[in-house]
């Protein structure tokens, strides 16, 4: 019991601990990367329950700032194979269990 209790604590713990945005792979230039990351974090925090709206928000903002057309996938478990413009891909984790992938391809 103690173990499971601890296990639960750990779970809750890691969710807290792993809350920070962790960039897994990106080839964006510095500025763009920082902005995109901030944007993703904002969107995910705003729409914690609704991935679609978060993705929509991210996509629209990116389109506005960096040109068309951006694609955004937010989820907890998926596989991905995309063709993206060079220097326009961001793949990051956030919130302990969310993965966000943003790329540009007209």
């Amino acid at each position: 019991m103690a173990d499971t209790g601890e296990g639960k604590k750990e779970e809750a713990d890691y969710k807290r601990l792993h809350n920070f945005p962790l960039i897994r792979h990106t080839d964006m230039p510095e500025e763009m990367r920082v902005e995109a990351m901030e944007l993703c974090v904002t969107a995910c925090e705003k729409y914690t329950t609704n991935n679609e709206s978060a993705a929509k928000m991210i996509k629209e903002m990116m389109d506005k700032k960096f040109g068309s057309s951006w694609h955004v996938v937010i989820g907890e478990s998926f596989g991905l194979e995309v063709t993206h413009e060079v220097k326009s891909l961001l793949y990051m984790f956030f919130g302990g269990s969310l993965a966000v992938c943003v790329w540009k391809c007209s």
Binding site: E81, G96, S106
Partner: protein
């Protein structure tokens, strides 16, 4: 037309009978009436008259009887000019009587036009033909005798120019003939084209069309951005693992940072730091310039951590075993790429910020004179100067103002002086002297700020090899100079031409102002003499000391004792004087040219001297009157000479400059910093009085035997 009209009227009046007879036989009446009318009107008029059948009776028509009306009058057309006089009487001189002219000219000229065609065969024609090229023939002269139906009409221009027949009075037949003639003329004029004159009737058309550039199609399509494929699978455990790893990494990094920062990051930050100080003009970087500065200092502290620790805390314990000897512990070395080839020519500590050093760079080499630099280093950041100023001429001396720690007076090799304001961001001096404003002719060896004058203007003194000591005052944003004194060498008045006496001027190399007695100052010269001067006497010295055999490199008053000063020279000696006594109190021979000497600020008996062989000597008179407490090689001997030394006013650190542009800071070991120990239980007096007393005691020891010796 008027006379004609009048004629008609008269005719109408004179021939009322004819008029009345008109209706039955209008054609004949016409012929009677119109004996002078134009033929054109004849035909037209007849029609008109034929049409008008109604009788038009003029008001003043003569009333005639039927019989009278039917009377036929015969009229004969004569070729007489009704206007011509019928009898002309002329006086004949021959017969001396009035005689009637037999024949009266009946010719009436109705139209005359002067033509400009000449008969080809006439003289004039032939003459012109010669002038003009033979090929070009003039338009053939045509005789246009316009034969009109009326006999009395003649065209005066029998050689008329049909081309100019554009007059109102031209007859229809005339115009018809004109056009005929014009046509005839056309073929001939084609030959002499040069002779043709453009006019309304005879002209050629000329047209031109600009060349339009040919059309070409151009299209362009930008290259689409390159694409790449990316594939990933993500699951909850992937995410978890990734986070755990990241956390581990961060932990490791934190651990590493504590003892020593990672070298990669160091380099990056150092580079960033350097770049930032030079690219401050860029907008984004300005915002973090402060943070970057602090980061740079932190990084430097990390790098030179041990040095910083030594600077603060290290006390060489081995000094206890060394007896009276001390050591100099090398601390930071300040150097910059820009100053690699320049020698350190001046060092000055900032009076307010105890870690700020101003270092002037230039060249002592007479032959190789390049640009100069002024760098301000902080002890907190030994890798890069805080401020950088560059100048065209080498800087020879630098002095901070006591009250305004952001003002620097600088003397140049070319004789100029300048004031730099550190508060302003420019790299140019705020005020600079020029040839107009009385700059020196020779390098300025020393500058020193003075107290503000009467009007609270900043002023400083400068000494130079041209033998002048000049006081510069900053008045209304300009440097104004006043010659304070000229170093005339006694006994060397040279007789010049015409009885002029020239005073040879000595070359001043160094000077120092007394701390308490404001007007008193000492000047060292290249001849080895030291002059004691007063600001108030501009022509005479108060005293002359025959100090050295070679140039006096540096003269310094003792910071505590009012009478003592020290001088050093290239003649290998350092001498301590009492300004009331002509001979030196102490003489130290250092076996090598002494470049600079400085009193320590914390003790009246400690001073340091540097020699050109790279050694620094530290003396403490209270400990050992004859030998240096420390003689240490500070700079590599070969190719490098020490040029200046300065004590830090607060810390036990000395700064030494050399010819390669390096500034080395050294810490004095405890033995060199001894303060007189008071007896147990007694309070150790601190303060200048103690120092003075200390020095006085020593001097007395020296003085008395000397004064005895003198006696």
């Amino acid at each position: 037309m008027r006379p004609k009209a009048g004629d008609r009227h008269r005719q109408g009046q004179s021939g009322p009978a004819g008029g009345k007879a008109a209706p039955p036989r209008p054609a004949k009446a016409v012929s009677k009436k119109r004996d002078e009318d134009a033929s054109t009107e004849a035909g037209g008029g007849a029609d008109e008259w034929a049409a008008a059948k109604s009788l038009v009776k003029p008001i003043d028509q003569l009333e005639l009887t039927e019989a009278e009306l039917k009377e036929e009058f015969t009229c004969i057309l004569k070729a007489n000019n009704p206007h011509a006089p019928q009898n002309i009487i002329r006086y004949s001189f021959k017969e001396r009587a009035y005689k009637s002219v037999s024949h009266v000219d009946q010719m009436a000229i109705h139209f005359s036009l002067n033509g400009n065609l000449i008969l080809k065969d006439s003289d004039e024609g032939r003459r012109q033909g010669v002038k003009v090229s033979p090929a070009a023939e003039k338009a053939p002269v045509e005789t246009s005798a316009v034969i009109s139906e009326e006999a009395e009409i003649k065209d005066e221009g029998s050689k008329g120019d049909t081309q100019a027949a554009g007059q109102e009075e031209t007859e229809v037949s005339g115009t018809a003939e004109v056009s005929e003639e014009a046509e005839k003329e056309e073929p001939s004029p084609i030959k002499p084209k040069e002779q043709k004159f453009a006019n309304q009737f005879n002209f050629t058309e000329r047209a031109s069309t600009t060349q339009n550039n040919p059309m070409r199609e151009a299209a362009c399509q930008p290259e689409s951005a390159p694409f790449k494929n990316f594939s990933v699978t993500v699951n909850q455990w992937n995410i978890y693992d990734a986070y755990v790893e990241e956390l581990k990494r961060i932990e490791k990094a934190k651990e590493k940072e504590k003892p020593r920062p990672q070298t990669a990051r160091q380099e990056e930050e150092r580079k960033k730091g350097r770049k930032l100080t030079t690219l401050e003009s860029q907008q984004g970087i300005n915002k973090i310039s402060k943070a970057a500065k602090i980061t740079e200092r932190m990084v430097n502290q990390n790098i030179f951590d041990d040095i910083a620790e030594d600077f603060k805390y290290f006390e060489d314990e081995s000094d206890e075993f060394r007896g009276q000897q001390g050591t100099l512990l090398p601390l930071w070395k300040f150097q910059c790429d820009k100053t690699k080839k320049l020698a350190v020519t001046a060092i000055s500590w900032n009076p307010k910020y105890k870690d700020l050093i101003a270092v002037g760079y230039g060249s002592y080499d007479f032959v190789k004179q390049g640009h100069g630099m002024l760098l301000l280093y902080s002890l907190k950041n030994p890798s890069f100067p805080e401020y950088v100023f560059s100048s065209e001429s080498g800087i020879m001396c630098v002095d901070f103002h006591n009250d305004y720690p952001y003002l620097l007076a600088v003397g140049f090799y070319d004789g100029n002086v300048a004031i730099y304001n550190l508060k302003k961001a420019t790299s140019q001096p705020s005020y600079k002297s020029s040839a107009n404003s009385g700059k020196h002719m020779e390098p300025v060896w020393q500058v020193k700020w003075q107290n503000n004058g009467v009007y609270n203007n900043l002023n400083f003194f400068s000494v130079s090899s041209d033998g002048r000591i000049v006081s510069w005052t900053l008045m209304k944003n300009e440097l104004v100079h006043t010659d304070v004194i000229k170093l005339s060498v006694e006994g060397t008045t040279v007789q010049w031409q015409e009885g002029l006496q020239l005073q040879m001027l000595g070359c001043g190399t160094s000077f120092d102002f007394h701390k308490k007695i404001d007007y008193l100052f000492l000047v060292g010269t290249e001849e080895g003499k030291i002059y004691k001067c007063s600001k108030y006497y501009s022509s005479q010295f108060l005293d002359v000391f025959e100090a050295h055999h070679m140039a006096v490199d540096s003269v310094r008053w003792n910071p505590y004792h009012l009478k003592v000063f020290i001088s050093c020279s290239s003649d290998w000696t350092v001498k301590i004087w009492d300004h009331t006594i002509k001979t030196p109190m102490f003489v130290y021979d250092l076996s090598c040219a002494v470049a600079d000497v400085a009193w320590s600020p914390y003790s009246s008996t400690v001073f340091a001297a540097v020699t050109t062989d790279g050694k620094a000597h530290v003396f403490d008179l209270s400990v050992n009157k004859y030998e240096a407490l420390c003689t240490q090689l500070v700079v590599a001997k070969k190719k490098n000479k020490i040029t200046h030394i300065q004590f830090n006013p607060v810390y036990p650190v000395i700064v030494v400059g050399d010819e390669q542009g390096h500034v080395i800071s050294l810490k004095l070991s405890p033995n060199l910093r001894k303060v007189p120990k008071g007896k147990k239980g007694q309070e150790v007096k601190k303060g200048p009085e103690v120092e003075i007393a200390k020095l006085e005691k020593i001097l007395n020891l020296v003085r008395e035997p000397e004064s005895k010796a003198e006696e």
